[in-house]
Symmetry: C2
Subunit: 222 residues, 2 copies
């Protein structure tokens, strides 16, 4: 046959591995599985990448590069931090829908990219992408569009609510990614609006109550 390989074999391997990792997780996918799914030999897969981990590295690098490229496409056309934030949240949710496999694979194996020495480039890209959101928040705080919150902590809050979506979001379900993004944006943007904060004393009282409840049910007590 040898008919036109529309994509390079290397790329086919990445795409296939991405889907399998998204389904089952890195540890539950063997190099053999990838080879069988593509009807090639295990040796071929290891020929293109030196190791199993190198394929995951490629997945993560590709994923972060796409997100960064997208952000650099749409952000320059915006100037209002509020618009920028809404677009950013929209991007995060759309990737859950339109780049599903890579998003799930990246999210569920995020701890591997956070520690493995081989994954230094991914960490660098993650830092850059994270800095985009922090930058939006910083400018919003400075301009007075947002309340005086900690931009770094708020960015973790926003990444959290969207990244966690890999555990429950189903593309093609009742709600589209765009609808979810709009609901999330509404809450976040409303919450960042300058305005009254609740009293600290009330927060402390509640925290004390919750802390007491937790001390009553320690792990290990059975």
């Amino acid at each position: 046959m040898a008919s036109a390989p529309r994509k390079s074999k290397r790329n086919e391997i990445v795409l296939c591995f991405t889907e399998l990792v998204a389904e089952r997780g890195y540890d539950e996918v063997s190099v053999r599985d990838v080879a069988e799914a593509l009807a090639i030999s295990k040796g071929t897969v290891l020929h293109h990448f030196g190791s199993k981990e190198a394929i995951l590295e490629q997945i993560n690098n590709d994923y972060m590069r796409r997100r960064l490229a997208e952000a650099r496409d749409y952000l320059p056309a915006l100037d209002d931090p509020v618009d920028e934030l809404q677009a950013f949240i929209c991007q995060l949710m759309l990737s859950q829908q339109d780049d599903r496999a890579a998003t799930v694979a990246f999210s569920r194996e995020i701890v591997r990219s956070a520690s493995e020495p081989l994954m230094a480039e991914v960490r660098q890209l993650r830092d850059e992408f994270s800095a985009v959101l922090v930058g939006i928040l910083e400018r919003g705080v400075k301009s007075g569009a947002f309340a005086d919150v900690d931009p770094r902590l708020t960015s973790l809050q926003i990444f959290g609510m969207t990244n966690w979506a890999w555990t429950w979001f189903k593309p093609g379900g009742r709600r589209s990614a765009e609808e979810i993004a709009n609901q999330f944006s509404r809450t976040v943007i409303g919450g960042l609006a300058p305005g009254a904060t609740r009293e600290g004393a009330e927060a402390e009282r509640l925290a004390t109550m919750v802390g007491a409840a937790m001390r009553a049910h320690r792990p290990g007590d059975i």
Copy 2:
């Protein structure tokens, strides 16, 4: 010696396995690792639990039972949905700090409890706990304390921002869990306050821009 075994061996196994799974993940921890850490034999571990998966099930069940017991402790003393919500967010963050190992183990292996047939009880407990938050939000919406949002979707937003914290929160770091909970609460409660929503047309314009940027960087294009 044979001096008083303060905790049953079964419980020791659960606690040890919890810590190892929190550190490395379920697949990267072997029954042998647990046995060696406790200086007992592998056979003993398998004698107490029938299988490796059964230990994870115990971890997950214990974890969810603690969270439910806590919520049922502190909630009856509150009546304002805003207070309840703040306390709930505080509980979620405090568990990241004070029940760290179990929280991390539970979060990082959540997909396993979501699908495995053996984990039906965990799913049941999860649904109950989730219903607690949805209930708070529903009552808040009904009473007018919160804007007319979808309680289910909002609960996923809140669980997301706190559950994701397992990937970045470090107990003993610059910020305590309570401080983080307060910041998160401020944003969420402010965002749920009844008030003006942004125009839908603006949201649609932004989504279109982001969508275009995403289409320009498809996965597989390299």
